[in-house]
């Protein structure tokens, strides 16, 4: 899997691709795109999907994960409506046709 083929197309992902939906605050770090799409013929892990879609956007990558690769504490990533910390974290698999949703926590003052 690679970042090649990212289309930025909106709407339902094709069943040979996986889409990552970005919150508006991060979109400037992805060239203004709200959705990053990576081609996928089979299920992949969230970690490898993030590697693929952020490969061309290192500043975006740093917003989501620190240098050790860990997802930042107040970054929440959903697969089919389930937050990955309640699944298998970055090892959670995501299938072609599914979407990954990134939302920051709402907390603090």
């Amino acid at each position: 899997m690679s970042a090649d083929g990212m289309t930025g197309a909106k709407g339902e992902p094709a069943d040979t691709a996986i889409s990552v939906i970005l919150p508006s605050v991060l979109q400037p770090l992805a060239g203004g795109q709200s959705i990053l799409t990576a081609p996928a013929e089979a299920a992949v892990t969230v970690g490898s999907l993030l590697d693929a879609v952020t490969g061309d956007y290192p500043a975006l990558s740093r917003r989501l994960r620190d240098e050790t690769g860990a997802v930042r504490r107040y970054v929440n990533i959903y697969v089919n409506g389930n937050e990955i910390r309640r699944l298998q974290g970055l090892a959670t698999t995501v299938a072609p046709g599914q979407e990954l949703l990134i939302i920051q926590s709402v907390a603090g003052g």
Partner: protein
């Protein structure tokens, strides 16, 4: 740094818990304030680098959501740049992640392009390209004491970096490890805390582990340093080989700030707080205290400051500029910022009701470096 006799404008960058404000003034009395930049991110560190014929403002930015990074601006905040791969990132193999940038310190005029950074987790970094990319100082990171350095309430930070302008001597202070010194440009480090009390430890005079809040060098006396400790104000005359108390004459020996004059021997400023357990100005009366004789005596300076004022001033929420006479600046956790154009004799308010002020840095710059000044938007 710039020559102040030709300065025609002053820049004051104000880092807060929720963003950055930039103030400019032709005379250090009337200020125009622009901002916020980086709204909702904290700005714990600022460096203003006036070398190389430009004014570069470097800021440590930390979002609770998106983590820490470094931005820089060469046009007084009109535009900002973030190095694509990050200015400060822990290398593979360290199994560490950057938490916060506590200090961005341009080196001496003799080493243009060199910028130091102090970070959390406790680490020191050095850039040779004006702050666009920093390398981890492995000597300190691999120091056998590192696992025993604690974390102060605010975090485990290397918060002070003092670099000798002519040699390879570097002093670093950290919470809570104390003062460390390198004589070889940062290759090797040794603790230098003799005489600084660590009353909160079983051995109150350990080799390291002191909670030093800030150190500063006397610009005109080689080997002389000052330290504001977690209770205790100290001076060293032998490059930190030993320290002695200079707290007599102050209303309290607690506080975070330690500033020194850019040129004049024996002149330093502190902003006392009542005590560890009562972190307010003594009796609710905010005052800066200045010594002109290396700590033998202190002068209370409060003209223009509010009474009462119960907010503390944090370690990097105070600075001096290099003008003649030197300007003194500080901000409170209540979001007020004050400036003095005469070394603290008189203060005026630059801004009020900002978020908690974490960091201020000021510089005098020539007119050629200053784009059209941003105006106050009120």
């Amino acid at each position: 740094m710039g020559v102040m006799a030709t300065a025609e404008s002053y820049v004051l960058a104000i880092g807060t818990k929720k963003g950055l404000w930039i103030a400019t003034s032709p005379d250090r009395k009337d200020w125009s304030v622009s901002g916020p930049h980086f709204l909702m991110s904290e700005i714990p560190s600022i460096g203003i680098d006036t070398r190389a014929g430009r004014t570069r403002i470097l800021v440590g930015v930390r979002s609770e959501h998106w983590g820490p990074t470094v931005f820089h601006s060469d046009d007084l905040g009109a535009s900002w740049n973030e190095p694509e791969n990050g200015a400060i990132t822990f290398p593979d193999g360290t199994d560490a992640a950057l938490e916060r940038i506590w200090q961005i310190h341009p080196d001496a005029d003799s080493r243009p392009g060199v910028v130091w950074a102090g970070c959390e987790p406790i680490s020191v970094w050095k850039s040779t390209d004006g702050g666009e990319h920093f390398e981890l100082n492995r000597g300190l990171w691999d120091h056998p004491h590192r696992s025993e350095w604690g974390a102060g309430y605010g975090g485990a930070a290397a918060h002070s970096i003092v670099v000798d302008p002519t040699g390879d001597k570097v002093h670093v202070a950290m919470s809570t490890g104390g003062v460390y010194r390198s004589l070889d440009g940062g290759t090797s480090w040794e603790p230098r805390n003799k005489g600084i009390s660590a009353y909160f430890m079983p051995d109150p005079n350990p080799e390291f582990g002191q909670c030093v809040h800030k150190i500063a060098a006397d610009a005109a006396v080689g080997g002389r340093l000052y330290a504001q400790n977690h209770h205790g104000v100290y001076r060293s005359d032998d490059d930190a080989e030993s320290w002695e108390s200079i707290a007599d004459g102050l209303p309290a020996d607690f506080g975070f700030v330690m500033l020194t004059h850019p040129r004049r021997a024996g002149t330093a400023w502190v902003i006392p707080l009542k005590a560890d357990g009562e972190r307010i100005p003594p009796d609710g009366k905010l005052a800066v205290h200045r010594t002109d004789d290396a700590g033998a005596s202190w002068k209370r300076l409060d003209d223009g400051l509010p009474d009462p004022e119960y907010n503390a001033v944090l370690r990097d929420a105070a600075c001096v500029d290099e003008a003649e006479p030197a300007g003194v600046y500080f901000g409170t956790r209540g979001g007020s910022v004050y400036a003095s154009a005469d070394e603290g004799e008189h203060f005026s308010e630059v801004a009020s009701h900002l978020p908690d002020v974490l960091c201020v840095r000021a510089a005098a710059v020539s007119a050629a470096q200053v784009p059209p000044l941003p105006r106050r938007h009120d």
